[in-house]
Amino acid sequence: MRRRHALNVVGLLVALFAVFPVVWMVSTSLKSTPEIFSGGPLPFPRSPTLEHYRTILTGDLIPGVTFVDFFRNSVLVALATVLISGLIALLAATAVARFRFRLRTSFLVMLLVVQMIPLEALVIPLFLMIQRLGLYDTLASLVLTYVGFSLPFAVWMLRGFVAAVPVELEEAAAIDGASRAQIFRRILLPLVAPGLAATSIFSFIVAWNELIFALTFLNDQSRYTLPVAMTFFFGRDDTAWGPVMAASTILTIPVLVFFLVVQRRMVGGLAAGALKG
């Protein structure tokens, strides 16, 4: 019993370490400027204020463009990335989880290898390609790039979820005369959907977070995504921690929400994914 208590205490400490920065970010964003400058350790604001959110949301950060626009751009890019990357990854994951074919291992090794590429080095070649495709200064250029960046890991994770779907179900359907397409749509897709959702958080984070490429590929500021807009707070002016933390909170919350929706499926899926494909 005492052992159990000890474990629980350790568990709480771990939880505290993990969530503390997020709590601190949110609480700073709600503190008044004088309270922030006094630097006290209170993990909650003494008298909560929305002044920093007001600064960000109503302030003329960039003439004619509001924070809401950046938010909308980010959401568009992230959702498109998640959908496209999820679809392509599902097809590929099905191939490696359900079939044994000659280049299967080579493909899996390649998935690992491409993750070793330092992405920042690709700015120039990708920029030239985007420009040749006529996609410069479009959100589509970002979607394309982020699909490429998120795909290797998405396939890697998703193959576990696909493998975890019992093969027998598909066999039974095949015996009943269902075509491959029908099996895929009616059996595999619904069963793997939770896993697909769990995997999509990876792609979502890639697309939601990325700064360097967004900065380079976009010109018109009405198309800026949130991370690009964030850089305006770190310009020549001093770091105003209140607004910065408020902006950070706004940038973080959607990921956390997205994540809370899918997190329960994650452990199960990782179990399958980690072990066998």
Partner: protein, 319 residues
């Protein structure tokens, strides 16, 4: 290449023919176009003397440099500092992330259901926090004037703090000043970000193990240490293998956290390979050839370091 005798083949798998390749096709096209082809471009750029944007644009000739860029990089003492920083940082971070992640994974496995769900949720929250905002928050926590850490150190009795650290007033102490303390904070940030993934993966692995094995070990009187090394670890070896490979890849390439914490590409003593490559290529005056060379070197190092693991995984047909 590999066969999986444990699982019966589904009916439609008989004679898969071209189907798997068709399924892979979109993925292969995307990866080839957006990762492999640009990587090839970078490799080509590393062989040329490129220091003007007009050259990149194709308006000026590209003088072929052969391996001159590689020679320049490899003989530069600063590159050796950067390489040392990178390797030491990655080693420390992979080690700490794996140890902490595994311990937390084991802990989650032992906790009651509700507690495990709560702690697991909190841990994953850290993982889901974007690198950009997570790091900005840590930077604020370590702010030298109003940051929490500065406040906490100031709150220590000044006698104690001056005897321990030689200072009683911590406001204005530069937490990011020396490379060592910078790297310590960076390690804290990176481990904080990456241990949750390890923990959850290990937990997932543990859940997939037959409970009787661990039970049997416990009945035999094995302590937690022994039962981990004699039962859990061997069974989960493939999981750990993959996790180490992925962590190594990620920790060698840390960029966002360093970029934010160091406030850009100014703090040269704390450079690591990926930020060095980026700064060389893009800080004025741009040196695309050299920057590309560093990127290629980083990729090759990663291939070599992880190649060993990947080969052993391949041999065991565990991919």
């Amino acid at each position: 290449m590999t066969t999986s005798p444990t699982r019966p083949a589904p009916a439609y798998r008989r004679g898969p023919g071209r189907l798997p390749y068709l399924l892979l096709l979109p993925c292969l096209v995307v990866i080839a176009a957006l990762l492999l082809w640009p990587l090839g471009q970078v490799a080509v750029m590393s062989l040329y003397d490129l220091d003007s944007v007009r050259q990149v644009r194709g308006q000026r000739p590209w003088p072929f440099a052969g391996l001159a860029n590689y020679r320049e990089i490899l003989s530069d003492p600063f590159f050796h500092t950067v390489l040392r920083n990178t390797v030491l940082f990655a080693l420390a971070n992979v080690f700490l992330t794996m140890v902490l992640g595994t311990l937390v994974g084991l802990l989650l496995h032992r906790l009651g259901r509700r507690m495990a769900a709560f702690v697991g949720g909190c841990v994953l929250l850290a993982w889901a926090t974007p690198a950009l905002t997570g790091t900005i928050t840590w930077k604020w926590i370590f702010d030298d004037t109003n940051g929490l850490v500065t406040w906490l150190f100031n709150a220590l009795p000044s006698g104690l703090s001056s005897s321990l650290f030689g200072r009683s007033e911590w406001t204005g102490y530069g937490w990011f000043n020396s490379p060592l303390s910078f790297f310590s904070i960076l390690t804290l940030v990176v481990v904080w970000h990456s241990f949750p993934f390890i923990a959850v993966s290990v937990l997932a692995g543990l859940k997939s193990l037959p409970g009787e094995l661990l039970e049997a070990a416990r009945v035999d009187g094995a302590g937690p240490w022994r039962s981990f090394w004699s039962v859990t670890f061997p069974l989960l070896r493939p999981v750990f293998g993959i996790l180490v490979v992925l962590s190594t890849i990620w920790d060698f390439k840390v960029f966002t956290q360093q970029y934010v914490l160091a406030g850009g590409t100014q703090d040269r003593p704390t450079f690591m390979l990926s930020i060095y490559s980026y700064a060389t290529a893009f800080s004025p005056p741009p040196k695309y050839g050299l920057g590309a060379t560093i990127a290629v070197v980083l990729t090759v190092i990663l291939l070599v370091v992880t190649g060993v693991y990947v080969r052993s995984l391949l041999k065991q047909e565990e991919l």
